[in-house]
Symmetry: C2
Subunit: 463 residues, 2 copies
């Protein structure tokens, strides 16, 4: 744990102004955690809320001079404790840098500060017929946070994940130096791609102070097709063929019956089709409902060949919203229901069914139920080992070994530890299952190149 | 210039076998250059042609031990001298590692060795209804070479560039250690993205020995719409609106009349529409010609509003092929026609017209004609300052300053030095125009982290 000197605080106050320093314990406590289930809160010693790049630079310059660890923070909606100040020190919250600087409708780009929320961005873009297609589910997330974790979500089938939409960055290095990387173009072959290196580095390499985003046009309509199956294998088996149709949906989700029961209870609402074992949801956008429904007819034909029950398109916007809401409520419903852990292993898409059945067997051996659902279109599987019918203590005791086995199973299938949540503190112990010592050493050397005195979010991703 | 000891050669022979060593001067001379116009050939002292990853690893281990610089080489079709062994030493040619290891039709991925050509890959994929969408124009290029330069090309509007299709790598570090990065999935938030860092690093960080590629389905038909305009500004001005249509073309190219005259002469063929000043070519794919033609009708309507002459879809496959061939012959035609330099500056797409008109003015001041054409859909502009009506000596004398001004103009518009050809040796002097000293130092530090003794393609990108 670092200590922070009065002199450091005084100089920080001179540089940023007293209104951008936070030392009140109650306020500091609000920077102590993110949304990681069971994550232990850890308050920083001090926090700053810089208003511009120069203040971020001044903060890092001083932090380096005084050897104070800096934990950058967006909206705190992460699921891996990436923004938890585990080494104490200083939280650098980007909440005041929340402006949309430019929307270029002709170039399909926007330039924003990191503190802007996905919700605010979506609203501003929709007003001019544009969209930012990454949808990690939590619209209060800040753009900067999604850059730090390379956030994914439901739309990755068509639009990819955060890193595919980030064209350029302004970032402040541990030295206080400000760099710009990339720009408002998709093609670049001009030296190392620092944009992509910083994206997903969880605040361990630099503090992002401006983001140039790639946009898409806003589609006039978005529709959902809901397809019940009697076996998960059949549901997942249909996905490759769906993706061979001429058009690409923005998302394909899968889930099993178990989660529906829990969500129905959470929402206090009756959900349809609970007699079936597994489900696909195909998410499509287009300019006319007719064209989307034509596409759904083709998807339905594929699914029927794979043993699906009749598929269903919600008949009203309200019914559609209800269905999507139910999907987005999986995590909060589980959170309320039981002691919770969340994994987000990614495997090659065609191996989802095999992976899920392995996770079931592994869970059974531990007497812990592993609920799975996720992104069938991109291989990202969310796993919740839930402590139903088990004492909290017994669950907690068995959890680490169970998780290790689940990760090993995913990696053995050619997967990775985290598809979209990041490693942070929460998954750090498990990253070596999927990364060789040579690879981890290389990451450490890169970290050292950026941040030789290790002040940038130390202890995250790896030690 | 390094020297290579007899002992080093003997140990290399032991490790790889004599048949994988090249020391014959004539054969070595074939590794002395790529296709950079005017690039000075530089033969290596020795070359190796390893047949597998273990042999690449053995080569690098020995090279590091003996301090021998290593220049990795694909098919040698580059345009920036990235694979020219400027420090002498050893060329590591990946020509024998040219196997397609796996094509996963359900997962839309392939795993290939770096020496496979784009042509061979395309053929194998087409046989199973798949495609690798990156099309830098030169189908004899090796996949490994395209990874090294982050090659772009005409299809970037819909499919992005090489880095967007690279899901994972196996690579050998300067230490001889073999790492694997990424995998057969699009989502990953598990530590730094070394896949993206190595992609585009021009062989200065690691030697890529296996590539996992993202594939697309093969469309049944590909068509071209050819649209003449009287002003380049009008042509480029139509692009944003074309991209707001519901469907996305795979490419939008622009060119001016001047290049048509040169290509017509080169091909000895009459090309149509030469009374117009500027042209767009919109490249679209689909499953039925009717749907593509419907799309073209919508594009035509947009272009008419922007002052276009009537557009034309080639009436036969032969006519279509002729038109695309003419586009692909721009570079060889220019090469035969005149002393040549080639720049591939990228600017934000909406700024192409302004940039082209600036390049014209700059050229006029130097008495050098700057021919431009390129990828209107992604802002990548090819510029050829041609020595027409000027002595070779005068042209060559004026060239460096002219190029500097062209780069400065592109950078001032928010662009970058190279969109798709890479920096290599040829553009090294110009990279600092678009990269701050801090950014370059950061790249050097990253290079140092990977390759502390600087044996990997030294002297490329930066000093």
């Amino acid at each position: 744990m670092s200590t922070i000197s009065e002199e450091f605080i005084a100089r920080l106050g001179d540089a940023l102004g007293a209104s951008n320093l936070v030392s009140d314990p109650e306020h500091l406590a609000s920077y102590a955690s993110d949304e990681t289930p069971g994550g232990e809160p850890r308050s920083p010693t001090l926090a700053v809320t810089p208003q511009n790049t120069a203040q971020v630079s001044a903060t890092l310059r001083l932090a380096r001079e005084y050897g104070v660890p800096v934990t950058p923070r967006g909206a705190g909606t992460g699921l891996s404790q990436g923004c938890v100040p585990s080494s104490g020190g200083l939280v650098l919250s980007l909440e005041k840098m929340n402006r949309i600087l430019e929307i270029d409708g002709a170039g399909f780009t926007a330039s924003v500060e990191p503190g802007v929320s996905l919700a605010a961005l979506a609203e501003a873009l929709a007003a001019v017929g544009l969209a930012y297609p990454v949808h990690p589910g939590e619209m209060t997330a800040s753009v900067g946070g999604t850059v730090a974790t390379n956030a994914g979500g439901m739309n990755a089938v068509k639009h990819g994940v955060t890193r595919h939409q980030i064209l350029g960055l302004e970032a402040v290095l541990a030295s206080g130096e400000v760099i710009t990387t990339g720009g408002a173009y998709v093609k670049c072959a001009s030296g190392y791609d620092l944009t992509q290196l910083i994206t997903g580095s969880e605040g361990t390499l630099a503090v992002v102070t401006r983001v140039t985003l790639k946009l898409t046009r806003l589609s006039a309509c978005r529709e959902v097709l809901f397809i019940p199956f009697d076996r998960l294998e059949d549901a997942v088996g249909a996905v490759a063929e769906i993706l061979k149709l001429p058009e690409t949906p923005y998302g394909i989700e899968f889930f099993e019956r178990g989660i529906l029961d829990i969500v129905a209870e959470y929402l206090g609402a009756e959900l349809p089709y609970r007699e079936h074992a597994a489900f696909l949801m195909v998410l499509m956008e287009g300019d006319a409902a007719d064209a989307v429904h034509e596409y759904f007819a083709a998807v339905d034909a594929v699914c029927q060949r794979h043993g699906a029950a009749p598929s269903m398109v919600p008949g009203s916007q309200r019914a559609r919203r209800k269905l999507l809401d139910a999907r987005e409520k999986f995590l909060p419903a589980l959170r309320r229901y039981t002691a919770l852990e969340i994994l987000d292993i990614v495997v090659p898409r065609a191996r989802i069914a095999g992976f899920v059945s392995q996770t079931r067997e592994i869970g059974e051996r531990y007497g812990i139920r592993v609920i799975t659902y996720g992104h069938a279109g991109d291989g990202n599987v969310h796993l919740h080992p839930v402590g139903i019918g088990l004492s909290q203590a017994a669950w907690r005791e068995r959890l680490p070994e169970l998780m290790r086995e689940l990760y090993q199973a995913g990696i053995a299938l050619g997967g990775a530890v985290s598809g979209e949540h990041g490693i942070g503190l929460a998954k750090k112990a498990y990253l070596p299952i999927g990364c060789s010592p040579e690879t981890l050493n290389l990451m450490r050397a890169v970290k050292q190149a950026f941040d030789p005195t290790n002040i940038m979010n130390p202890g995250k991703i790896f030690d």
